[in-house]
């Protein structure tokens, strides 16, 4: 199991479009993925779950990944967060 702190760095926060990108990305991996933040713990492969976090810009979340491809899944997700979900331009 791997864990990492991630910062929501895009302008709009984890809204529908960004959440969809994250879920689509993680769905390509076998590992289980969980996001923790704002007092909640949600399935990061669930669009409704990720939306439930309602994470605003600048929020810090913890992603926990568990499974055969956990390292790849976590680094791909972290990269997406770092790229600000490919928005702004």
């Amino acid at each position: 199991m791997l864990e990492r702190e991630l910062r929501v760095s895009n302008k709009l926060g984890l809204h529908a479009r960004a959440a969809a990108k994250l879920v689509q990305l993680l769905s390509g991996f076998k590992s289980q993925a969980t996001l923790l933040g704002r007092g909640r713990e949600v399935n990061a492969k669930s669009i409704m779950g990720v939306l439930l976090l309602a994470a605003p810009p600048g929020a810090t979340l913890v992603m926990r990944v568990d499974g055969d491809d956990e390292a790849e899944a976590l680094s791909a997700a972290a990269a997406l967060f770092e790229r600000g979900f490919d928005e702004d331009g």
Binding site: H15, A16, V23, A54, E82
Partner: protein
């Protein structure tokens, strides 16, 4: 009794019809229990409904193309993701199998479980995603109760009155003959509004008191252009309706007649109209409208929304379909035009860029991956065996780039010849002029190209240093700027002197109001989306080229946008 309600116009137009009031779905599903031997059948019914809903969303997704696919598509994708959400699906089977609940009630339990958390949220945006969940659950419920045909009877000729409308519902209603929609809530900025406009379906939103006053079966007149919904319209309203209908009918008929007419100015000069296309529908439409060919075929769709890169054969088949679809008219295929902002899922862009508009994009990205570029060039050359093809290279900024493209094209030809594959006689090479340096330095690459196409969307953005998506800069972003017009005038003149065809393929060419400007500056080849082709043809047929050309000098002396607008008013 006549009553007029005010609303906000989300899609213009006028309609007269019978009201059908859809009260908001509260999902009041009663608790149903099943017996053990009913379980397999109930599970089958549930999964058939889920599959049917998935198929509906897919079908809707496929009907969209062009700009609409981007906008509304994301919305539909979101709904498709909600439908496949493990939080919704996992446990659903269990509720039926072990809980012995009917499929409807099991679905409601899952929906309520998710909804209870959303309802407690303090952010409007996230709380309103509950609407998306309910649209999806509503569709599955509808699918569960569909018997044989789709169960929705006679919507033709009706005006729907409801709380809100989802894009998917709107498309289905339109297909069934609904003539207009009025909603109590909603916004002109919603995806539904964008879709309604593209379907030419009148849509009025934000109509207060709507559901309190409208009843099933009322006669309604929806004048979305003027923001009004009239219940039980009177004689004056009906006169207004018929006058507007007649006018709209005349305008449409006039445009339809132009399908088979040449694009010829009043003084008898033929202008060429090419189509911008990215889907089979666009190509078919272009052909039906009498386009002179395809002036810009975007190939990005082959690379996006998929895992891995398309093979040479996949690309070849798509390009061959395009060439065959044009039946002998030229097909201009633009090589991959992706940047860091769009290429992430192809794995081509290595990381995000601080400034993707000025980054590794277009031909720069292709040249950074020569194997990939060679594959695309080979596929295009193979398609040229079936009809005339032109290869358009995006984002060129220097001679060195064009030399490398020529080198790769020579390699591709030599390889294909060596393999005994056929290449057509016509496979011309052209550069897209978007970077100011390429516009000013056209003379430096002219010996390497057979044609050029000016991408005004990016050229204007780079020339004016104005992001075209920047909300605060909307006033600054315009092709009606003296520097833009002078540069275009020089490009067209250069093309004429050197015998190189120069086309314009940006949105500027697709706006009928710009036709006098472009003709005056010397443009002869327009490339535009098929949806605006007839309007531009109509505008060109009403213009006198010789007198416009005489007035070009005055146009080029304009010092500001006002002067350009005044010049246009005198056309």
């Amino acid at each position: 009794m006549r009553r007029a309600l005010r609303g906000v116009s989300a899609s213009r137009g006028i309609a007269l019809g019978r009201a059908r009031v859809l009260q908001p779905r509260a999902l009041s599903v009663e608790e149903t229990r099943i017996t053990a031997d009913q379980v397999p059948a109930e599970l089958a019914r549930l999964h058939a409904a889920l599959d049917a809903t998935r198929a509906e969303l897919n079908a809707l997704r496929e009907r969209l193309h062009g700009a609409l696919a981007q906008e509304v598509g994301e919305f539909i994708d979101l709904h498709a993701m909600i439908l496949d959400d493990p939080e919704l699906l996992q446990g659903l089977d269990d509720l039926v199998r072990t809980g012995r609940y009917g499929a409807d009630f099991a679905l409601k339990l899952q929906r309520d479980r998710l909804a209870s958390v959303f309802e407690g949220m303090d952010d409007d945006y996230f709380r309103s995603r509950l609407e998306d969940l309910d649209h999806v659950v509503g569709r599955v419920h509808a699918a569960l109760h569909r018997r044989g045909d789709d169960g929705i009877e006679g919507l033709a000729g009706e005006i729907l009155v409801c709380e809100t409308v989802a894009p998917a519902e709107l498309a289905a209603w339109h297909a069934r003959g609904v003539v207009g929609v009025a909603t109590r809530a909603g916004s002109p900025l919603s995806h539904s509004a964008i879709l309604a406009r593209s379907l030419h379906l009148p849509l009025l939103v934000n109509v207060a008191e709507l559901l309190a006053h409208a009843n099933d079966g009322d006669a309604l007149m929806l004048d979305a252009s003027h923001g009004e919904l009239v219940l039980e319209p009177g004689a004056d309203d009906l006169r207004r309706y018929h006058a507007r209908r007649d006018q709209i009918g005349r305008e449409r008929a006039e445009l339809a007649r132009l399908r088979r007419e040449p694009t010829r100015t009043r003084d008898g000069v033929d202008i060429r109209l090419y189509a911008n296309a990215e889907s089979r529908e666009d190509v078919a439409e272009a052909h039906g409208l009498g386009a002179d060919g395809v002036g810009l075929y975007r190939t990005e769709f082959l690379f996006l929304q998929r895992a891995g890169l398309p093979t040479e054969d996949e690309q070849f088949l798509a390009y061959r379909d395009l060439v065959l679809g044009m039946a002998g008219r030229v097909a201009t295929i633009r090589t991959l035009d992706l940047g860091a902002d769009k290429a992430d899922r192809t794995g081509l862009a290595l990381r995000s860029e601080p400034n993707p508009a000025l980054g590794l994009r277009g031909v720069r990205l292709s040249l950074a991956h020569p194997d990939l570029f060679l594959t695309q060039l080979r596929a295009i050359l193979r398609a040229s065996a079936y009809g005339p093809v032109r290869i358009l290279v995006p984002m060129v900024s220097s001679r060195e780039e064009m030399l490398r493209v020529c080198g790769l094209l020579d390699t591709a030809r030599a390889q294909l010849r060596h393999e005994g594959r056929q290449v057509g006689p016509v496979a011309e090479l052209g550069a897209m002029i978007e970077v100011p340096a390429a516009a000013l330095g056209l003379g430096d690459i002219v010996d390497l190209v057979d044609f050029v196409s000016v991408g005004t969307n990016d050229l204007v953005q780079y020339l004016l240093a104005t992001d075209r998506n920047h909300e605060a800069l909307a006033e600054l972003y315009t092709p009606r700027h003296p520097a833009v017009l002078r540069l275009l005038g020089e490009l067209f003149a250069f093309g004429r002197r050197n015998g190189i065809p120069v086309a314009v393929c940006g949105e500027m060419a697709g706006e009928a109001a710009n036709a006098p400007l472009l003709l005056a500056l010397g443009l002869r080849d327009f490339s535009l989306h098929p949806s605006t082709l007839l309007e531009v043809r109509k505008a060109i047929r009403e213009l006198d080229l010789a007198s416009l050309r005489r007035r070009a000098a005055t146009l080029l002396r304009c010092h500001d946008r006002d002067a350009i607008e005044r010049w246009l008013e005198r056309c």
